[in-house]
């Protein structure tokens, strides 16, 4: 840190000779870590100051929006009860599963709120999800047209395809979901050599040399000692957390953690306590309580305290407060599990995730987890950290021991994607994509805010949730955007709080400026037509012109 400040003072003046020598050995060209050479200082070289984290915005909607949302849900729920009554009486045929006649006196299976919601609210707008796609999910794709004759209980495909729909929903952050023959040459070669199926687990006969290469490459990419790759991202979380913590341990998990983290925490049998989203005071309070009172009845100390957070939260687009969490972790001697599913490859000046974004040494985080599904265009997940940790996981994790090893073409796709981002393959394509992604993100977010939409999250996150709130508008938004040949993902109740339904855009490096402009223009028109521009803070379009009379005062 001190080094960076000194450098600041010397801007524009001749550097002392001794300083220049230090400068040479410390500078990193591309964060290209050779195993063993661990960077002591903050990861930023003199050109990358540790970034100040922009503020997350979670603007609240005006009161009338909340009232109308609840009113809308109330009306649909009333009609839901009415329809259920008609079905129970027999005036209407029940399309959904029902108990058999003999079991009508048993404990009811389909009466809880989830099934009620599914029958009466979800079914009505079900055509907005699970749309069949018939091309690769690049920046544009083809959607098959389907219609329903009985209000979404059954669908049939008409046979036509809607072509060149702009894809704003796929997690294709760096654009690696491509079928360009030149880029995929190595993948084809590896398939020719290894085949597609591995037919064994890693522990038995499935440990191919390509897997070893992948793990070493991932460790180099992240700047840590060692890494291990698994076949499925969800399974990486849910199967490895039980191997790391057990009974007698404490897990402090963020309110909005992903289901895989929650499942892994529950499977492990540890005590789970939840702190408010990104709220450091809440986390510190829990830590203090945990250390002071210990385990619930015996008051013995906790065996381990594990803080589980994500790099980017996929429904809000907010970034984790990494420096503060690291400070807390050191003060209270806890461990940190960082799930970088959405942020690896997508944030940071060279795409190495939130650790690089904040200028933090990745070795300070105890367990780095991520997935290859989003930014690398493949499938699977990894866990990285110290060598002892990863070696322990190799023999104690369920996923490592019992799950089939990753398929060779997928592994090669990840290898080529990582090599592209690191620049090892000799081109600047990877860096160009990382820069293009951050430009696209900033452009989209700033334009959406200018237009007056409520957008959640941090300005650097490529996940852009646009709030819609009202249930009627959610369905209409998705259908209208598809009519204008833009494919969006809308999310409603179980995944988000009931009053905050949203449309979630995933920016990609493969989107060109024209595509984004087309999307923005359509959003503008549609936003006015439907009226979803709820934001009350409107920044001005143009920067204020420099007032010349103040010139003398400033200089």
């Amino acid at each position: 840190m001190i080094r960076a400040d000194e450098h600041h003072l010397r801007n524009g003046t001749l550097k002392a000779h001794s300083d220049q020598k230090q400068q040479g050995s410390n500078s990193l060209k591309n964060g290209f870590h050779v195993a063993g050479k661990v960077q002591k200082n903050a990861n930023g070289d003199s050109f990358h100051q540790p970034r100040v984290r922009g503020e997350d915005s979670f603007e609240e909607a005006p009161m009338y929006v909340a009232v109308l949302t609840y009113m809308g849900y109330g009306i649909v729920i009333l009609f839901g009860y009415f329809r259920d009554f008609l079905r129970a009486v027999g005036l209407e045929k029940c399309h959904q599963a029902q108990e058999r006649e003999e079991q009508k006196d048993f404990v009811p299976l389909y009466q809880d709120f989830e099934n009620f919601y599914k029958r009466n609210l979800y079914m009505r707008v079900r055509d907005n999800w699970n749309r069949p796609i018939c091309s690769l999910p690049g920046p544009v794709f083809d959607v098959m047209e389907r219609v329903s004759d009985d209000y979404n209980w059954t669908f049939r495909l008409t046979g036509k395809t809607i072509e060149n729909v702009i894809n704003m929903g796929s997690y294709n952050y760096l654009g690696f979901a491509e079928n360009n023959v030149d880029f995929l040459k190595t993948v084809a070669e590896e398939t020719r050599q290894y085949g597609v199926g591995v037919c064994s687990t890693r522990q038995e006969l499935g440990n191919l040399s390509i897997h070893e290469n992948l793990e070493q490459l991932v460790a180099e990419f992240l700047g840590v000692e060692s890494a291990m790759a698994f076949g499925m991202g969800f399974a990486t979380n849910s199967m490895n957390i039980p191997a790391l913590v057990g009974k007698g341990c404490l897990i402090l998990s963020d309110e909005l953690n992903h289901t895989s983290l929650i499942l892994g925490a529950r499977l492990s049998g540890a005590t789970i306590r939840v702190f408010k989203h990104n709220n450091m005071q809440s986390l510190e309070k829990l830590l203090k309580e945990a250390i002071c009172s210990g385990q619930p009845r015996t008051h013995r100390g906790w065996k381990k305290i594990l803080i589980m957070v994500e790099g980017i939260y996929s429904m809000e687009g907010s970034l984790v407060r990494l420096p503060e969490i690291l400070a807390l972790k050191k003060k209270y001697k806890a461990y940190l599990y960082l799930d970088e599913a959405h942020s690896i490859g997508a944030v940071g000046p060279t795409g190495r995730g939130v650790t690089e974004h904040f200028g933090v040494d990745p070795n300070e985080v105890d367990v780095l987890m991520g997935t290859f599904t989003k930014s690398f265009g493949a499938a699977g997940g990894y866990i990285a950290g110290k060598k002892e940790l990863v070696d322990y996981l190799r023999s104690h994790s369920h996923s490592a021991m019992y799950a089939t090893a990753m398929s060779p073409p997928v592994v090669e796709q990840i290898i080529r994607a990582i090599k592209c981002i690191m620049g090892v393959d000799g081109t600047t394509e990877g860096q160009r994509r990382v820069r293009q992604l951050s430009e696209n993100t900033r452009y989209l977010r700033s334009r959406l805010k200018e237009m007056g939409f409520i957008v959640y999250g941090n300005q650097d996150s490529p996940v852009v949730p646009l709030l819609l709130y009202l249930p009627g508008k959610v369905g209409e938004f998705s259908r209208a955007m598809l009519k204008r040949k833009i494919g969006v993902v809308v999310v409603g109740f179980p995944a988000t709080p009931i009053a905050e339904a949203r449309a979630r855009f995933c920016v990609s490096a493969a989107h060109t400026r024209e595509m984004l402009d087309k999307v923005l223009q359509n959003l503008d028109e549609l936003g006015d037509h439907i009226r979803v521009k709820f934001s009350r803070r409107r920044p001005s379009h143009r920067q204020e012109l420099y007032n010349e009379t103040d010139f003398e005062r400033d200089s």
Binding site: L68, M71, G72, Y73, I75, V76, F79, L121, R124, V125, Y151, L470, P471, G472, K473, G475, E476, H529, I530, R531
Partner: protein
């Protein structure tokens, strides 16, 4: 042309009403039921107002001693 514009504007208002009350998600016969209920209740309210408004206004003016 004014009639055409007025019709477009009215139909946009109806569309907004459908979206905001979530009637947009319901089937046409359900919308008919809800609209009839709404119109019935509104008609009853207006009729009651029409019948009782003179008496209420006289009572208020009498209270404030504006009229004997």
């Amino acid at each position: 042309m004014a009639l055409g514009d007025a019709w477009k504007q009215l139909s946009w208002f109806y569309y907004q009403y459908l979206l905001v009350t979530a009637l947009y998600m319901l089937e046409p016969w359900e919308r008919t039921i809800f609209n009839s209920l709404l119109v019935t209740v509104a008609a009853m309210a207006i009729y009651t107002g029409y019948v009782f408004m003179p008496q209420h206004i006289m009572a208020i003016l009498h209270y404030f001693e504006v009229v004997q």
